[in-house]
Amino acid sequence: MADAVFLALSIMTIGSAIAALEVRSLIYGSIALMGTLGGIAGFFLLLDSPFVAMFQIAVYIGSIAVLILFTVMLVRRQLIFIKIEDKRRRYAGIGLMLIMMVGIGAVVLSSGIKTITTDAPPVDFRDIGGDFLIYYWPALILMGFILAASVIGALTLARREDVTNDQHAS
């Protein structure tokens, strides 16, 4: 049975997810997205995973949401408030959303998952460190390379040729 904190977190997460997509201004949309990501961090706390929750807050709310906010502010003012949408496509999208919810919901409900509860003690965060260093160390190294490559790739993409040429000329 869901308790009050869970219900409040669910309403906050799903409500701000809808607001992030539907609110007119992109800036308020990004702030609503922060609400969604914060709500997910709250769910992680409810699931006794404080380490993942802190990681979520540090990475998603601390860096990704701020990065998105800065990108939105780089966009022209009119484009932040404009909302271009095809009406028919919108209704088709809502239909697709409802079909997915009902379809996957029916599969999950009929799978017997609702009987699963647990009294096991929460996993210690030291086990996560052990997982990283014992089982998944090649993946950890690969992830480091991927992060470095993505940062270099993003910098290369966003570099402005004209500005660098001006600087070379002067």
């Binding site: 669910s10 997910i40 990108t71 409802l98 997982d131 992060l147 940062v151 790739g153």
Partner: protein, 101 residues
């Protein structure tokens, strides 16, 4: 624990469906990125929920990997959006005809 696995899965399914709605309906590249973030977060919530109810630390480890890779993806995605905006002065994906510089 008062909540069951099903409660978390329902939230996750709702978030996934909203994300798919966003990806299929919105034409604004930044809003599409929001929707992709929601889908990734729904997956992370599922991973951590299953890791809690079938006691194991591996689900949390995978969620941490997933969050880090999502950070890389958003960095590159936003750089692409900035390049496209510079070329077309717009963030509407219907306006993006090519990414050739």
């Amino acid at each position: 624990m008062t909540n069951t696995l099903l409660d978390f899965m329902i939230v996750s399914i709702a978030l996934l469906a909203i994300g798919i709605y966003g990806v299929s309906v919105k034409r604004n590249a930044i809003r599409m990125l929001f929707a992709i973030e929601m889908i990734v977060n729904a997956a992370n919530l599922n991973l951590v929920a299953f890791a809690r109810f079938l006691p194991s630390s591996h689900g949390q480890t995978f969620a941490l990997f997933s969050i880090a890779i999502a950070a890389a993806e958003v960095g590159v995605g936003l750089a692409l959006i900035i390049v496209a905006y510079r070329m077309y002065k717009n963030v509407d994906i219907a306006e993006f005809r090519s990414l050739k510089g």
